[in-house]
Symmetry: C2
Subunit: 623 residues, 2 copies
Amino acid sequence: MSPKITTELLKQLRQVMKNPKYVQEPVQAYIVPSGDAHQSEYIAPCDCRRAFISGFDGSAGTAIVTEQHAAMWTDGRYFLQAAHQMDNNWTLMKMGLKDTPTQEDWLVSVLPEGSKVGVDPFIIPADQWKRMSKALRSAGHDLVPVKENLIDTIWTDCPQRPCKPLIMLDLSYTGVSWRDKITALRSKMAERKVMWFVVTALDEVAWLFNLRGSDVEYNPVFFAYAVIGMNTIRLFIDGDRMMDPAVREHLQLDSTLEPEFKIQVMPYGSILSELQAVAAGLSPKERVWLSDKASYALTEAIPKAYRYLTPYTPICIAKAVKNASETEGMRRAHIKDAVALCELFNWLEKEVPKGTVTEIIAADKAEEFRSQQKDFVELSFATISSTGPNGAIIHYKPVPETNRTLSVNEIYLLDSGAQYKDGTTDVTRTMHFGTPSAYEKECFTYVLKGHIAVSAAIFPNGTKGHLLDSFARSALWDCGLDYLHGTGHGVGSFLNVHEGPCGISYKTFADEPLEAGMIVSDEPGYYEDGSFGIRIENVVLVIPAETKYNFKNRGSLTFEPLTLVPIQTKMIDVNLLTQKECNWVNDYHQKCREVVGAELERQGRHEALRWLIRETEPLVRVQ
Amino acid sequence: MSPKITTELLKQLRQVMKNPKYVQEPVQAYIVPSGDAHQSEYIAPCDCRRAFISGFDGSAGTAIVTEQHAAMWTDGRYFLQAAHQMDNNWTLMKMGLKDTPTQEDWLVSVLPEGSKVGVDPFIIPADQWKRMSKALRSAGHDLVPVKENLIDTIWTDCPQRPCKPLIMLDLSYTGVSWRDKITALRSKMAERKVMWFVVTALDEVAWLFNLRGSDVEYNPVFFAYAVIGMNTIRLFIDGDRMMDPAVREHLQLDSTLEPEFKIQVMPYGSILSELQAVAAGLSPKERVWLSDKASYALTEAIPKAYRYLTPYTPICIAKAVKNASETEGMRRAHIKDAVALCELFNWLEKEVPKGTVTEIIAADKAEEFRSQQKDFVELSFATISSTGPNGAIIHYKPVPETNRTLSVNEIYLLDSGAQYKDGTTDVTRTMHFGTPSAYEKECFTYVLKGHIAVSAAIFPNGTKGHLLDSFARSALWDCGLDYLHGTGHGVGSFLNVHEGPCGISYKTFADEPLEAGMIVSDEPGYYEDGSFGIRIENVVLVIPAETKYNFKNRGSLTFEPLTLVPIQTKMIDVNLLTQKECNWVNDYHQKCREVVGAELERQGRHEALRWLIRETEPLVRVQ
């Protein structure tokens, strides 16, 4: 990896920062955040502006360019990568280290008095704007919205915004029609006494209209906004996608409909002016509901007195609770995914000893087996295929420079998943193709105990996921081991593999309580720097539990694993398991054998079936 | 309990609300919060203004009186009590219920346009003022500080502010001299670049100067403020307490000292004017450090640009980490406390079957035994002595109207503690003096498992207490049981029985990480409304743990019980315990027997010693 040479680009950027064609007054600093206008975690190439200007293409980072300086804030996952990818024009600001200034403090320390700091108001979330603006103002500077994105003005070969065809999901996948979703949304709006709801997150637009797209890699979403009134529906979307008769039929664009379900289709770029028009027509007490993470541009379009901001939108919360059709779809997707992984692991077991399988080859092979499954669309994130020391890099993705060959002497960690039309998967298995050491088995077994502790946990209705996080760590803690990431995240239904508003992490407190139908991952791990990584991840469904006393009718919850891929018993030190834990593993493997076995049989994959049967032999605990 | 008749009082209050002698302009509403000027949890009789005006004397509640209305906000613990104690002039606002308006919303709904709402700026914390003021302003009203407390103007027989003699603690109790504490504080101030620190919490003043008082029941504190500069010390305190030669000696008031350790003693009432004088002399960048819970009056005395507010002060954090002398003192106090409780339980075992022991008699007897111990000062909170259904009322305190007789048919719960000169205790034991039912034993055993899960937990340095809360619930949850309170609170060292900044609760997120030397309670419970209450509480000390891998040198922590009182084995269903839990109980009882047994022997309390030996017989688990 050689760094990107940015001298000329920075010169150009500094010129447009003073060019009256783009800025009312010159700006002395310009902020380039990571995100897109929808605060997406994964972004399209045309939105990779921070990578374009700096060369650093990690998933998190904020660049700030002043007349004299160029600085990049990123977190511990990316210190090395950012240092490699950026040239000497850039200063790396290592977030989380004690002496690293915040962006605000740094700006205040370098800017001349009374400076203007510019930012694209569509890219910066309203809450960040507020914090930054306040800090700058108290030091005598101003944060100003720059309408035209200044990076775009110098990015001559900027790729076009994707505008790919839409996928329609019928009731058999979604369980609820978009009309019923709109009706439910309006009743939530009525409850909160708001008249308008602005849908800004891409997965929320997709979910609401039962549509999917492929504008962003790994996330089946498409660029669009929606504004839902009590009697109107506006969908902001570009391209000839709305010319497709099947889409028109799905959205009933040409039918005679009750006016409140008539969708007005408008250009993607007209969201701001339309929202301003809505704002201009508001009567007193007509509030407009937005996510508090919506862009500053859209938030500002609604006068403060009319704004109703919440951290989680009603769509985000409704989307998290999967209905029977979605749950069944997720089950099907996970069975197919398990078939692909049984094929993969069977293949690896044969091929690894030959010394010809690299991390990249293994990842490609996993994708190949998945793509053979029905309704496969794409992967749900970049496959983490890592062996030996690479396994200890939590967000590792193999590239030619780091690509390692799998061997019978190292632990192999595969964290991968796919988008199927009926569901999204995300599974991690840690395997050894030779003989693991006693220490490796010990660590693996503690991780497994943590995985089981969460998966088998019983808890009252209304419990927040973060209260379960320590269960995953207890066995590791007892021996003085830990892992520095959360235990689980929400998973979409043929949608984003990471979604709110629930999860299992010590880091959050504002998560919504778990309820039956929610789907999260359960993925404790252990990482020994320079040696190996261990993680065991299932996607699990929140289900009602049966308890002796049922919390005085408050109700009990637990988890059902949707992922049905064997956990390598070779890695388990059975004597460290309790009888209850041992039974859990055996029951889980029995279910894998029955459910996935039947599907392997049906697909005529006999060799993989034999592998599955071998790998699901019951554990026997010596008393 | 008959309600207090408040018609005449409210009439008088409404008059002074318009009287130019007390208010610049008439106020249309007056807020009477619960607290005192130091945001104390326990308050002196002269500060019980809300109880005076309304009759309601629960520990939490806010009264608001307008020209037409009088309303009282309180939480679920006190709905019944407030309804009983208040007459028809008052409307009870049940906090936590869906339809109950907030104080702000209610005020906006009842006030005429452009109203003034008054409050004593010394009683309302700055953060509450900010929230209330903002809400009122956005509705066209004003929150105004009323200098003279309006309740005090009509409270003709208001008791005097207590001004009791001080207790000096020498190094053998405190481990650190007040001079060294000041030096450490100043170095924290230098770190944060602040020049002044204002000590507003009573326990922080007491801790800083190694003094104790008895101005407030149960809390060994005295009314005072302090303002610490980099070179000056101002102590604001009333009465002839500073005439006591021993106090003068302790504070070295008459010695020739380095000027930076010379204490200037000033009247308690001069804090505001002195602070204003400090503020007037501030140079740019000279910041003043206050708790964000300090009163509006004191916070407002410092111009905003000079204020440095934090949720936990450096004294609060330093005070929480007990040094070797304090820890040893706490150990001694807990041994004496255990002696008293062994005497009590031995006595109860003999007396209860006679049917003559009421909850009040048992509580008095507990106090009597405690008062026989060396360095006993007073109780650390009102004893919760409850039998049968009263045990299910979590904050129960026996009064003649509710006083129940202990019997061999009901569970008895005693939550009590004392202040000794060497430490503060807080212990709960749940006993049965007859034969407990299988269900009672089952519930007790789950609570015990939760107690052990926390007490024996091992966790990495830097872990916050709230992450341990679920460990206490897991065994209950498995059977569909739970309890609706946190698991533990910080405990002072001959100071307040509840103190920050650490604790073990699902409710907080902003607690400071646990570190070796901190002391918290471990008190899970289970409550069956109308039948019984179970709670098992030890005070525990955070200590370094030994683990196999020691978190890559991050260090491990665990707890050591300071409380050494037998847990009634009759209540335990041994077969529900794991072998590890069974060993924990046996080891704990062995330690009680050795340590407390030796002290009982020394004190010649042979009958109680025999009781202790009986009660600490090892459990035997049938495999």
